[in-house]
């Protein structure tokens, strides 16, 4: 949640000093140590915090050094930034999450074809475990098809920093852009590193280029294009291989059991080592009984290196996470060309898909050892140990008859996106279910309980377009959701322009909350300022009008009656595109900003009116209808005050921010009279006090056994 000044000050540390921080901070430090001139990227987990580190340090650290930071509009714009390095000795790096590579690939292909003069590095958030990604895919295939080197570092921050620096040199030496894979777990390490001195960028915003000579051979236009292709395979790859070999970028760890060995890559090395340690085959310092070759560069592979490792072996295990298993396939072909005769094991004994955690690979590693260990004593020990974890998991998962209740993510307390889904849920009573084409953002959670409003998620800015055919071929209303970030990322062209152009009949609900919240609150064109904190406000409504959308209505999400009303209008209209903009700032961001201000106001004695919601536990009968329309974290359950009711009643936690939705729901859906709103006035004015006094005395007269309010 933002980097403190203390943390960022470490970015100016020199040789020998120790920096403490998380991986993004360490990577940024490594950028500075490599003398980068420009940075950019599009936020997305697990690389989101890298953008935070960059934007938080821009004013105090980067700008003074003349380093340019581009708040890229999407991954394609980020990728195209790298063209600065094509013809000029300028180092730069951009970043995005794995799926962003799909958006970026057009630019990437062209830049990779031209090749680069200055070091160009793409930090890709590899998320094969799908902690925060909708599809499981890896970056390696992209690199292979466009001929870019791929660095996949071990899970160790000193090593990460070292590989970033090596990456820029590799890129320059081989004229290839370099992909640097930042896997989810590596991206979230907190540890210390030993620093080096920062390097000053030769070319920067401070010392600019005077002229821009361009070599025609770098422009991907036939006939040159074919020359690029030859250049890739005849010069760039061999150069990269030489550099990798000379600088020992891949690591060889020797072991006594020379007849067998393991080849693995990146952070999987850490998991493998822990797995071997648990099997009693290695110690914590990485000293294993059998030799290991760890590929920190997974493309291109270096045949000599592989052959050297395999020459005297009778069997090898390749521990490669993810499909397609391109490393294993390449090694098999290297071995075949070199006519080595050894057994190669890989996905045949290891799990095909899924994240390679230590326990996930234990059984496979175990069976490899069993196949290649002679002594029966050893066999028994390995078998027992490699199966222990699985047995233990089995025992634990079956210990209770009733599985632990699931907990799915929910919209935050007071979230301005929730009410629209509540409204749609309420309208389903009269209009039935529609086809809900969801998109990428917080609102993807509309597909989860309690709303379950999602028939498809197709990708960033694509929701509405994905329903184009259905809106003509199904007798159902098509409703799509889109956030402001997504709108400016690509939604405007991919979905809206397309819908207008094809006169698509659908309802598009744009949730404008002024932040890209999903990734941890990044500015987006709707925020009124960019990530360099420079004021820019881009107007969604104007943009829509510009594309020729006729039916546009804006609603205040917290006014449920209004939303219901506008939605009904949209439901009744049959032809054309109807756009509803639900405008309300992200509650998290709002509260964070205002909490302090309000405290201050109260302190200096200003009149402040705040509100909170509550439920009367005696009035609530515990039918929980309100829950099924809401899903607010602050609206929860507690025991009924009367022992006669077995089921719990609704209850609102003190964390309530007083958005009032639950009360609105009770009204709009005609649920129950249990909800109430309390308006709390600090530093009340003379009138407030007088009014309260009069009420109190009047009430005292009529109320039973005295007034205690």
């Amino acid at each position: 949640m933002g980097y403190s000044k203390e943390l960022l000050d470490q970015l100016n540390f020199g040789k020998g000093e120790t920096l403490y921080g998380d991986t993004p901070l360490v990577i940024l430090k490594a950028f500075l140590q490599s003398g980068v001139s420009y940075l950019g990227g599009y936020p997305g987990s697990p690389t989101a915090s890298l953008i935070d580190a960059i934007s938080d340090s821009y004013e105090t650290v980067l700008k003074p050094k003349g380093i340019y930071f581009d708040c890229s509009g999407n991954e394609a714009s980020a990728a195209s930034l790298l063209s600065a390095s094509i013809s000029y000795p300028i180092r730069g790096s951009v970043n995005w999450k794995i799926v962003g590579t799909n958006v970026a690939s057009d630019a990437l292909s062209h830049i990779a074809s031209s090749g680069v003069t200055g070091g160009a590095m793409i930090i890709v958030g590899e998320d094969y475990g799908c902690d925060s990604t909708c599809v499981a895919e890896r970056a390696l295939p992209f690199a292979l098809k466009s001929t870019m080197a791929v660095i996949d570092p071990r899970g160790d921050l000193d090593h990460v920093a070292k590989m970033v620096e090596a990456g820029f040199e590799l890129s320059e030496y081989s004229n290839m852009p370099v992909m640097f894979l930042l896997s989810t777990r590596v991206a979230h390490i907190m540890n210390k590193i030993k620093c080096n001195d920062n390097q000053e960028a030769q070319i920067s915003m401070l010392n600019r280029l005077n002229d821009l000579p361009t070599n025609a051979d770098t422009i991907p236009l036939p006939p040159v294009t074919f020359e690029h292709e030859k250049h890739k395979y005849n010069e760039r790859i061999p150069a990269a291989q030489k550099f990798i070999l000379d600088n020992k970028l891949n690591e060889f760890f020797d072991g006594e059991e020379k007849s067998i060995g393991i080849i693995t890559h990146g952070m999987i090395y850490n998991s493998l080592l822990r797995c071997l340690y648990n099997l009693g085959e290695a110690n914590l310092y990485g000293e294993a009984r059998l030799p290991i070759l760890n590929l920190n560069v997974t493309y291109p592979l270096v045949a000599e290196e592989i052959i050297l490792f395999l020459r005297d072996k009778k069997a090898v295990l390749i521990v490669e996470e993810g499909m397609p298993n391109l490393i294993e396939e390449q090694i098999r072909s290297i071995v075949q060309r070199a006519k080595l005769s050894l057994d190669i094991f890989g996905k045949d004994i290891l799990p095909m898909a899924g994240e390679y955690t230590p326990d996930h690979i234990a059984k496979g590693v175990g069976s490899f050892l069993l196949k290649n260990t002679l002594s029966n004593y050893e066999k028994a020990r390995i078998k027992e140990k490699s199966e222990y974890t699985e047995k233990h998991k089995e025992k634990a998962s079956t210990y209770l008859k009733q599985p632990i209740a699931k907990r799915n993510p929910v919209f935050c307390t007071g979230c301005p996106e929730r009410p629209i889904f509540t409204a749609i849920k309420i309208l389903e009573e009269d209009y039935g279910r529609s086809y809900y084409a969801s998109d990428i953002g917080c609102y993807s959670m509309s597909g989860l309980p309690p709303f379950d409003l999602s028939n498809s998620i197709t990708g960033m800015g694509i929701g509405l377009a994905s329903a184009a055919a259905l809106s003509r071929m199904a007798n159902k209303r098509v409703i799509s959701f889109m956030g402001d970030g997504t709108f400016w990322h690509s939604g405007l062209t991919t979905s809206i322009a397309n819908a207008v152009y094809n006169n698509q009949s659908a309802i598009l609900i744009i949730l404008e909350n002024f932040w890209t919240s999903m990734t941890g609150h990044h500015e987006n064109p709707a925020s009124g300022q960019n990530m360099r904190q420079e004021g820019v406000g881009m107007d969604i409504e104007k943009a829509l009008k510009g594309t020729g959308v006729k039916w546009i209505k804006a609603v205040d999400p917290y006014d449920l009656t209004e939303s219901l009303d506008v939605l009904r209008q949209a439901y009744e209209e049959d032809e054309g595109l109807k756009v509803i903009i639900s405008r309300g700032e992200c509650q998290l961001e709002k509260t964070r900003r205002e909490r302090g201000q309000i405290k201050e106001k109260i302190k200096v004695g200003k009149r402040v009116k705040q509100q909170k919601l509550g439920v009367d536990p005696e009035v609530c009968t515990g039918d929980h209808s309100c829950m099924r329309y809401n899903g607010c974290p602050s609206l929860t359950l507690k025991d009924s005050p009367t022992i006669l009711r077995e089921d719990p009643v609704a209850h609102i936690e003190h964390s309530c921010v007083g958005c009032g939705l639950c009360g609105e729901i009770a009204h709009a859906a005609v649920l129950c009279p249990s909800f109430y709103k309390v308006e709390i006035i600090d530093n009340p004015s003379i009138f407030d006090r007088l009014g309260a006094k009069i009420n109190r005395s009047l009430l005292h007269m009529i109320s039973k056994n005295g007034w205690m309010g």
Binding site: D131, M190, N270, N283, A396, P633, L637, P673, S703
Partner: protein
């Protein structure tokens, strides 16, 4: 290769957005201060959005030689975790279900619950049982320490996030990690998040873990205070009669029914009057006789009946709601819940929206009945085209005179209640309820209990209540009755009725009352199978 080592592996299961990241960082920093090598991993995903998440950290004493360094793992391994420091109870359960606990694990957990959406949604209770979680924790730990960190934070009026520092204090007190108290305190200062509040919370957790917990007070004292609590809310005359009824209850009913009856009697006096209450007691008594003639029942049927009859007889109509909304202790409760200070002025705005039936339901049946039967005619449907139900939305400020007065007026027509349309309707249901229980008691005791319990599904207001009532009738008519008749004619016991009935009950009290459709289908299928 030696397996034995000083590697310490700590797993921190948490609910997203509750500050688990800071908790992890405190521990990492504390290890650094103790001259350990350490690595913290904070897991991402949708963590900030209240989903379940885990943090993980590993620590090891610095190697003697510079050239050697520890290869840390980024993933915990099931069965290999030394300490589980759980921020919330269900998340502890999840971690254990995944196998992270074992006989070498020390568990330090907060026992408070943050309910998940899926637990909140069912019409009945979907809350996962704490007993299960405890069973799991005892089954997969070497040492199991629990404290209710949220409760502690409330007692010391701190915010929810204090839970983390409280747990840190408990971790320190448990001596499960080789970290000195001073280092923990120092690390809180270094990390620099809400330092003072956190230090205070840390001490709270530390002390609590030192003392441990004491259990509840004696039952006798509890009973007398239970009675006086209620008696004191009544006016003198009623109070007298209330206490008279209580002494009857003490003499005539077994101990495990006392509190339920004391509560019910109070509720009904407060709801209507003494003779309404006596009607109730008479009904309960007649069921009690069934119990006293059956051996070893522990008066279960009477208990279930007493509970639900009281609830049915105190159906929430406009008058009841008005009364509850202006009870003086209501505003006291609100003051406390909202943590209001005396120098603050506050307004209580109620969201009230009775629908047509809830309004005309208050009117005498003699007036409503004919009009209502007219609305069912085709003629009426011709004139009246409006589809949306009639409602009367209002948001009175209930602690202002005008708002309060409106409610107060309504409470004054209480005496008309027994003649109201709604009263007739609800008492038709009550009559049916009582008859069914007597009838099925003559068939099978368990079956009677099931029917007695099933009245719990009747709840809610307006539309919702009408649906649940409808579901309840259908439950009796289309599920229990046909199955019971079938079994009483063709079999010796009522296993099928009990099994299907229970399943049907779960269906209606589950996702939504529409579960009744499934339930009916189920019963039909069973009967058809049998017939064939």
């Amino acid at each position: 290769m030696q397996k034995k080592s000083d590697l310490i592996k700590i797993l921190i299961p948490a609910v997203g957005g509750q500050g688990g990241g800071v908790l992890t960082e405190w521990v990492v920093q504390a290890f650094f201060l103790e001259d350990f090598d350490a690595q913290g991993i904070s897991l991402p995903g949708l963590s900030q959005r209240g989903g379940s998440t885990v943090y993980y950290l590993e620590a090891h004493p610095k190697p003697e030689t510079e050239d050697k360094s520890i290869i840390f793992a980024q993933f915990p391994v099931p069965g290999e975790v030394d300490i589980i420091l759980a921020q919330e109870f269900l998340e502890l359960g999840r971690a254990l279900e995944l196998g992270y606990g074992s006989d070498k694990t020390t568990i330090i957990t907060s026992s408070h619950r943050v309910y998940s959406t899926l637990e909140k949604m069912p019409i009945g209770s979907g809350i996962y049982s704490d007993e299960n979680l405890r069973k799991l924790a005892e089954g997969f730990s070497y040492k199991f320490i629990e404290l209710n960190a949220l409760e502690l934070s409330k007692q010391n009026d701190m915010d929810e996030l204090a839970v983390n520092a409280i747990l840190l204090g408990a971790l320190c007190a448990s001596e499960a990690v080789p970290i000195d108290k001073q280092s923990f305190i120092r690390s809180i200062e270094m990390v620099g998040v809400a330092v003072n509040a956190s230090l205070k919370a840390f001490e709270v957790g530390w002390e609590d873990a030192q003392i441990g917990h004491d259990k509840k007070a004696g039952s006798l004292a509890k009973w007398s205070s239970f009675v006086s609590e209620r008696a004191d809310k009544l006016e003198d005359k009623e109070k007298e009669e209330y206490l008279a009824r209580i002494s009857n209850i003490e003499s005539e009913y077994p101990e495990n029914l006392r509190e339920i009856l004391a509560e019910s009697v109070y509720r009904l006096i407060d709801y209507q009057d003494m003779n309404y209450t006596d009607k109730y007691l008479a009904e309960v008594n007649s069921i009690k006789i069934i119990d006293s003639n059956t051996r070893g029942t522990n008066y279960l049927l009477t208990e279930l009946f007493a509970k639900n009859l009281a609830l049915l007889m105190s159906f929430e109509d406009g008058i009841r709601v008005a009364e509850l909304k202006i009870k003086s202790d209501r505003f006291k409760r609100i003051r406390e819940e909202m943590r209001l200070k005396d120098d603050q002025v506050f307004h209580v705005v109620d969201y009230l929206k009775p629908d047509a039936e809830e309004i005309y339901g208050l009117l005498p049946n003699v007036l409503v009945a004919p009009v209502l039967s007219f609305t069912q005619t085709r003629l009426f449907k011709k004139i009246w085209r409006r589809k949306k139900p009639l409602t009367m939305g209002q948001t009175p400020v209930t602690n202002s005179f005008s708002g309060y007065f409106r409610m107060w007026m309504l409470t004054k027509i209480k005496f008309l209640r027994p003649h109201s349309f709604r009263y007739k309707k609800e008492h038709k249901l009550i009559k049916r309820y009582i008859e069914s229980i007597n009838k099925y008691a003559s068939y099978d005791y368990k079956l009677a209990c099931l029917v007695a319990k099933s009245a719990q599904v009747v709840k809610g207001y307006g539309r919702v209540r009408r649906r649940t009532i409808d579901a309840f009738y259908r439950f009796l008519d289309n599920i229990i009755s046909p199955l019971a008749e079938y079994e009483s004619n063709n079999r010796k016991n009522f296993d099928i009725t009990l099994e299907i009935g229970q399943e049907a009950y779960n269906l209606i009290s589950g996702e939504s009352v529409e579960g009744i459709d499934k339930a009916e289908k189920l019963a039909q299928d069973v009967l058809e199978q049998r017939a064939a």
